[in-house]
Amino acid sequence: MMFGLAALAIVVAAIMVLYRGIKGPRVYDRLLAINSMGTKTVILIALIGYMYERPHFLDIALVYALINFIGTIAFLKYRETGRLD
């Protein structure tokens, strides 16, 4: 119950951030929104793991945190240098 309410609050926060991600106006605003949504996803995965009483989902959360960071950095490298290789 407790975890469900917390997850619901985070989903509401994700919707608000997603609105910013779709509205923009710049690509950086979108990127900020999506990065923040990614970290919310990490939390949400952990909470869902506890809702199902299977905390082993945490491995996924850990990997997810890493991937989210790498995606953001890849994007910024492209924006900075204009290329990826």
């Binding site: 609105y19 900020l32 952990a46 905390p55």
Partner: protein, 104 residues
């Protein structure tokens, strides 16, 4: 209801409050450089609060160690990503908002 569950509930409440306020901030602030403040600070603290709450619920074992690793990782990575974003925007010539300008 043992003490760990109660602490967990309180921390979850505080963390969710922080995360919600951060989202409101991302919506309300007028430009990119001001939006990055709630996204970089308040969000990080909120997430750390939620995860530490889960640690209290779990007690001490391997799973809570994993949670601790995620907390440390988030605390290091979130400011770094924020810095990278802000720096990229600054280099590409996004002008910071001044008092009296129009909202973007």
């Amino acid at each position: 209801m043992d003490i760990g569950t109660i602490i967990c509930g309180v921390l979850l409440f505080i963390g969710c409050f922080f995360i919600l306020v951060a989202s409101v901030g991302v919506l309300r602030f007028p430009d990119f450089f001001t939006r990055i403040h709630p996204a970089g600070k308040t969000d990080t603290l909120g997430q750390a609060c939620v995860l530490i709450g889960l640690i209290f619920y779990e007690g001490f074992d391997f799973i809570s160690l994993k949670l601790l690793i995620i907390v440390v990782f988030l605390l290091v990575v979130n400011p770094t990503a924020t810095y990278a974003l802000a720096n990229a925007a600054f280099i590409s010539g996004v002008k910071p908002w001044k008092k009296g300008d129009k909202r973007q």
